[in-house]
Subunit: 258 residues, 2 copies
């Protein structure tokens, strides 16, 4: 690849054929040399799964100056690892994942394969960004995303990110009015109010389908949910320290012998 | 189930037959009525995967007074959801996951199916604990774990946990000297220095196996890694807010129009 341009590793969790990935590739090719390693099938809600008990394979699909594309039988996190360790043999200048078909705001980050790939970048201290559109449709319109993706991508390439920190970017679906701009916000507190639909298969055996309604527990005006509801692009800086630091002193007396 | 006793939901990610699960069940039956819903096969390194595109099934394996056991074709997070929503129809008093065959300290929490089940409990605001032993062997010795599991389990049942907070408990493998006690600590900063072994299959096609060496980037004496290396049980309070709050003001000027 051309040494004067930044090298950008691109992946997603909706799979190599997803229109959201194509939109992200198109934006990234304006910013640098691009290596795509993406799952050969949809991998939504895979969380931070990593393949350790099965062999991983990659298939080279395209090889042009400044652009290579592989499909992979692994998860998004596997794709990021393979892209670095096997294809590039070094860290890329930036890792991007998406554009996810559907929101990864609030608690969705925990379940997201898109963001697992991005966290994998942060763990390796590579500037990394996840992009998601709040529209689950396969035929979603990604056209309005590009200026925001280019702006945030350029910022990250030019200014970097704090060590071991990545970005969770969610873009509102087009709703008739223009997106107002970017808000730097925190992850909203929300959950999925879930139910299982109980069905019988043709052999009369029980099975269950997960269904759920997203519910916010947070009326702050500094959250990703607030930004998206108000037609802003939400940018949440994300790290991988899950410690509830404020809880540590509260449990200190558990250290005592009985 | 007996209404006077607490109801405890038990799962794991090594699968329903794992000796670590049996050790945890044995401890939990001393504390309350127990419902086990565990994966029908090993689900290690599954992260927070949730099954949304396939039907879930459960198989009732045992049904005794105060004890029920189901195997499930889903992930640990699926098991926790099904246990609550389908089997119990309400929140249990406590959710426990493990005993994992292998450490979930430091960065391992991100990849861990054991801890995904526990985070799922925290998201629902149910007191939840993950237990792991720093020994990957199927034949690991879990006997010394029980007093610590009972002490921490009793503390959580009696005193509860702060809202939306769970515990990541790691227990050192027996190494000849007794475990010294419990330390309330933070998640150490560490990573896996990973390589892929490149092999050829009998059809001469390439494939890759993930291998890695755990590396600490943290010499703090207040971390889970420090506690384990010094033969203490590590207890990290965990939440699911991944926001790097200190980064928000640093990015504020990205909100400006160009």
């Amino acid at each position: 690849m051309n040494k004067t341009k930044p090298v950008i590793l691109v992946t997603n969790d909706d799979g190599i054929n997803a229109p959201g990935l194509r939109a992200l590739i198109s934006a990234m090719r304006q910013l640098g040399d691009v290596l795509v390693v993406a799952p050969d099938k949809p991998m939504s809600a895979m969380g931070h799964a990593v393949t350790i008990t099965a062999p991983l394979r990659m298939l080279l699909i395209k090889d042009e100056p400044g652009y290579r594309e592989y499909s992979c039988n692994g998860t998004p996190a596997d794709c990021v690892k393979l892209g670095q360790k096997v294809v590039l043999g070094k860290a890329p200048d930036m890792i991007v994942s998406g554009i996810n078909h559907g929101s990864n705001s609030a608690i969705n980050i925990v379940y997201s394969g898109t963001m697992a790939a991005v966290l994998e970048g942060a763990i390796e201290n590579i500037p990394s960004i996840g992009f998601s559109l709040t529209d689950y449709a396969y035929t979603a319109n990604f056209l309005h995303c590009e200026p925001f993706i280019l702006k945030i991508g350029r910022n990250v390439l030019d200014k970097g990110l704090p060590a071991y920190t990545c970005l969770n970017v969610n873009i509102p679906a087009l709703n008739g009015s223009p997106v107002k701009g970017i808000k730097i916000v925190r992850q909203a507190h929300a959950y999925w109010d879930e139910k299982y639909e109980h069905r019988k298969d043709p052999q009369n055996r029980d099975y269950f389908w997960l269904t759920g309604i997203f519910k916010s527990l947070d009326d702050g005006e500094d959250t990703d949910e607030w930004a998206l509801l108000n037609n802003y692009v939400s940018v949440v800086p994300v790290h991988f320290d899950l410690t509830s630091h404020k809880t540590i002193p509260l449990l200190r007396d558990w250290e005592k012998e009985d």
